[in-house]
């Protein structure tokens, strides 16, 4: 995947983000710069509160920077855009819509005809293997199924960038593993630029081409680790020496950060 | 409360009488006057006043036995006729109801009422006066638009010009006149129909009470008589006492002085002797029957429910 001529998809340029809260200012991000290439799979780890979600929200256009800019396809990001899809940790499905209704929500907004929207939505519902549940409401689905719907919904809007904020954080191990594999599989088929936040170092390594390690107070990029494990990867990858080496290294770095935060 | 013989129960503990009233001059003047001049004390009676918003609730309280005597206006007299209560004293002939037109809206005479919107509280004596007023010029309720509303809303409706005329009672009538000045034209009032529709107000007890507590009742009536006599000579002073009792503006109560024909004990005795009083009550029964509120078979002799003996005994 690491071809020679790489196009920069997302350019994060010296971003600073300060929140004003009752207890004074909180510097959530400071001097964050990063180029993310087209079709690249970036994973992000770091202690809680280091600004991972803030960065993702800025890329998504859900929050504004205090200073610095973010570009997508050389266009400055000012607002949300359908070329940047987001998958949230808590699924964020619309509980009053069926699986189908959720997946085609974005399509209907774009004024697409019902038949066409249904057709596209069904394609992605099949992709996540939920064709038996098209007309089910979210409350009738298990956590893993809900997250699959969220992924299908993000895919259906056909974004070129997929931003995921700990999408598997709330799932049990089995489901989590399974969804990781499905995600990898889909990404290998239909490449998109992925920005994937996780607390789980294993997950970061098994998915990412580069792992971004962030540090807190203020949130900065501490290190970028290249993961040179070839795709297709699977759960077996976890026992390869490359994996274990990367894991040990990243753990130690993240662990330091955790200790830092505790102080 | 069952003491033997002696009516002047000095040195003994006073008998407590719970009196139900409505917050206006007509309802309170005799009792308050009697209390202030010590007429009840003299009779060994301690009066406790309880305020009510309307006659129906007073009747209900009477039935439950939680009050002893109550003051009621004309509308509630259907109940004593039906045997639900007994009248032990006449209070007054009311002159509180008026039909008032708004000259601004073109209602200057009774004839002008045709086709107009008139505010009235259904089931009250004001409604009857309105009926009589309309009948005088050959109109019926179908010739006008009736708005049934709460007494307080009637005033605001009239002043703000939402209705063309009202049929209501004092102090609402006073408030209307105060606010509208010459624009408010009094078209008719109780006095105009006194022979057709006597607006009788009376004092009530529940059936059987008088029999058991005759002595107390007579003494209480004696107190009332003293209050009546005092009142006739001191209308304004009593109005101020009433205002004090119900904690409202004294001027507002003074304006209610014209609400009734205030009589003395002697005048009352004359009315009893020459049969005028009985005639009033009889007429009242007929009016109820005509209005469909009383059935033919429910009509009965006045002396069965008006206890003339209490009134005469108290005068001795």
């Amino acid at each position: 995947m690491a071809g020679e001529e790489r196009v920069v998809k997302l350019k994060i340029d010296n971003v600073r983000k300060v929140y004003n809260s009752q207890n004074g200012e909180v510097i959530a991000l400071n001097g964050v710069s990063l180029d993310i290439y087209e079709n690249e799979f970036i994973t992000v780890v770091g202690p809680s509160g280091c600004g991972k979600s803030t960065l993702l929200n800025i890329i998504a256009g859900l929050e504004k920077t205090t200073s610095g800019k973010v570009f997508c396809d050389d266009q400055e990001i000012m607002d949300t855009g359908t070329e940047r899809g987001v998958v949230f940790q808590q699924y964020a499905l619309f509980p009053w819509l069926t699986v189908l209704g959720n997946v085609k929500f974005g399509l209907s907004l774009q004024g697409m005809k019902k038949e066409k929207a249904d057709e596209i939505a069904m394609k992605y519902i099949r992709m996540v293997d939920l064709e038996d549940f098209v007309n089910s409401y979210p409350k009738e689905l298990s956590g893993g199924m809900k997250q699959r719907v969220a992924i299908a919904r993000a895919y259906a809007a056909n974004p070129s960038v997929l931003l995921m904020d700990e999408p598997f954080g709330a799932l049990d191990a089995q489901t989590r593993t399974q969804l990781q594999e499905e995600l990898l599989h889909t990404w290998e088929k239909e490449q998109k630029t992925c920005f994937f936040i996780t607390h789980d170092v294993d997950e970061a390594i098994i998915l990412g081409q580069r792992v971004i390690i962030m540090s807190a107070r203020p949130g900065r990029i501490k290190e970028v680790v290249d993961i040179n494990i070839p795709y297709p990867r699977s759960q077996e990858t976890k026992i390869t020496p490359e994996f274990l080496e990367a894991k040990n290294y990243i753990w130690s770095q993240v662990y330091k950060e955790y200790l830092e935060v505790r102080k | 409360s069952e003491d033997e013989g002696t009516s002047e129960a000095e040195g003994k503990e006073a008998d407590k009488v719970k009196v139900a009233y409505m917050p206006n001059y007509a309802s309170l003047n005799t009792v308050v006057a009697g209390m202030k001049i010590g007429a009840f004390e003299e009779q060994g009676i301690e009066v406790e006043l309880v305020e009510f918003a309307d006659g129906p609730t007073i009747i209900a309280a009477l039935e439950s036995g939680s009050i002893d005597v109550g003051y009621i206006g004309p509308g509630a007299h259907v109940l004593p006729i039906q045997g639900e209560a007994e009248i032990f004293a006449f209070s007054q002939l009311g002159n509180a109801d008026e039909v008032i037109g708004s000259s601004e809206k073109g209602v200057k005479t009774i004839e002008d009422l045709k086709g107009k919107t008139i505010a009235v509280a259904t089931g009250t004596s004001s409604e009857t006066i309105l009926d009589l007023t309309l009948a005088e010029v050959g109109l019926t309720k179908d010739d006008v638009t009736l708005m049934n509303m709460d007494a307080s809303a009637i005033v605001t409706a009239m002043i703000s010009g939402s209705v063309d005329a009202v049929a209501t009672w004092s102090p609402n009538t006073n408030a209307i006149k105060n606010e509208m000045g010459d624009d408010a034209v009094m078209l008719s009032n109780n006095a105009r129909y006194a022979d057709q529709f006597p607006s009788i107000a009376s004092w009530l007890v529940k059936p059987g009470y008088a029999e058991k507590n005759e002595d107390v009742l007579v003494r209480f009536t004696k107190g009332l008589y003293k209050g009546m006599d005092y009142r006739v000579d001191n209308l304004e002073e009593v109005a101020k006492w009433v205002a004090e009792e119900i904690a409202v503006d004294p001027d507002a109560v003074v304006q209610q002085i014209g609400d009734g024909e205030w009589i003395t004990q002697d005048q009352l005795m004359t009315m009893i002797e020459d049969g005028t009083l009985e005639a009033y009550y009889k007429k009242q029964q007929e009016n109820f029957k005509d209005a469909g509120r009383l059935k033919e078979e429910e009509m009965r002799p006045v002396e069965e429910y008006v206890l003339f003996n209490i009134m005469t005994d108290a005068a001795k």
Binding site: G85, V86, D129, M145 | G75, A119, V155, A157, S160
Partner: protein, 283 residues
């Protein structure tokens, strides 16, 4: 292997739903469980009529509780007077229109309160303030500004229902998960879409509660509302019948109001089941 995993997920799911069903933990006796709910309604009715009959026999209460025959008779009486249906119709119109206007106003007010701090801080205390004041107390004010007839009746009911509904809906909108709004935005929703397609459906359960409270308050404010001047109406007639001491038709009218309330309640329940079936009940 993958297949198995999937089955496990489905199974877990089933367990979850099942647990929604067994709500009441402590019912023990079995024959009680078997009595159908229709029969219960019947039993409840019989018990009530029994108590009523007793009240109509006790001398003290008999005048206010005429027995069931007199009350049924008075349906005929009131129909002969030609007011029974017009009273019901008039009150229904006032309550429904007042409720609808109150509802329509409370929706945007609730949303504005939830979104904009200044509006919340300025409006909320006043809503809370007026909410505790008996409607009868502001009847004269309404008559002054709106005259007599249908309008002020509707206004009183609008005010009373608005106060409660706006607070209820406001709490609902406040409780909307902000990520839902974010999710809609990243899918390309504009402010209008967010209002219509996210805020509105997401606050439906609270809107339903508001509707339920609103209709009840509309009915209990009926007497106050119709004291602003009415030529027909249940509340106005109750006052008039009270003035003329006609206990049977008065009790009848009180019962009519109660029955209308029950019918509203059922309708709202029906609506609720249809509209908020998607809602996840508490675990």
């Amino acid at each position: 292997m993958k297949r198995v995993v999937k089955i496990v997920i489905n199974q877990t799911l089933k367990t979850k739903n099942k647990s929604n069903v067994k709500k009441t933990p402590m019912t023990k006796s079995n024959w009680v469980e078997k009595i159908p709910s229709n029969l219960w309604v019947l039993i409840s009715l019989v018990v009530a009529i029994f108590i009523w009959t007793i009240l109509s026999i006790i001398p003290n209460t008999s005048r206010s509780f005429p027995n069931i025959f007199y009350v049924s008779e008075s349906v005929v009486t009131m129909m002969q007077r030609g007011v029974f249906w017009s009273d019901i119709a008039s009150s229904l119109i006032s309550v429904l229109v007042g409720f609808l206007i109150g509802f329509v106003i409370s929706l945007p007010v609730a949303v504005l309160m939830a979104w904009y701090r200044p509006i919340r801080f300025i409006i909320e205390p006043w809503i809370q303030f007026v909410r505790n004041i008996p409607p009868l107390a502001y009847v004269p004010l309404v008559v002054i500004s709106a005259g007599v007839g249908r309008t002020p009746q509707i206004i009183v009911i609008t005010i009373a229902t608005f106060l409660t509904m706006s607070i209820t809906i406001y709490q609902g909108v406040r409780n909307i998960d902000p990520t839902l709004i974010k999710a809609a935005r990243v899918l390309g929703a504009k402010d209008k879409d967010i209002f219509l397609k996210v805020i509105a459906p997401a606050s439906l359960p609270f809107i339903m509660t508001a509707i339920r409270l609103g209709t009840a308050i509309g009915l209990t404010s009926l007497i106050a509302a119709e004291s602003t001047g009415a030529s027909a109406g249940l509340g106005m007639r109750i006052r008039a019948l009270n003035n003329t001491f006609e206990a049977s038709p008065m009790l009848l009218y009180i019962i009519v109001i109660g029955v209308i309330g029950l019918i509203f309640e059922r309708l709202v329940k029906l609506l609720e089941r249809r509209l908020t079936g998607w809602q996840e009940k508490r675990e």
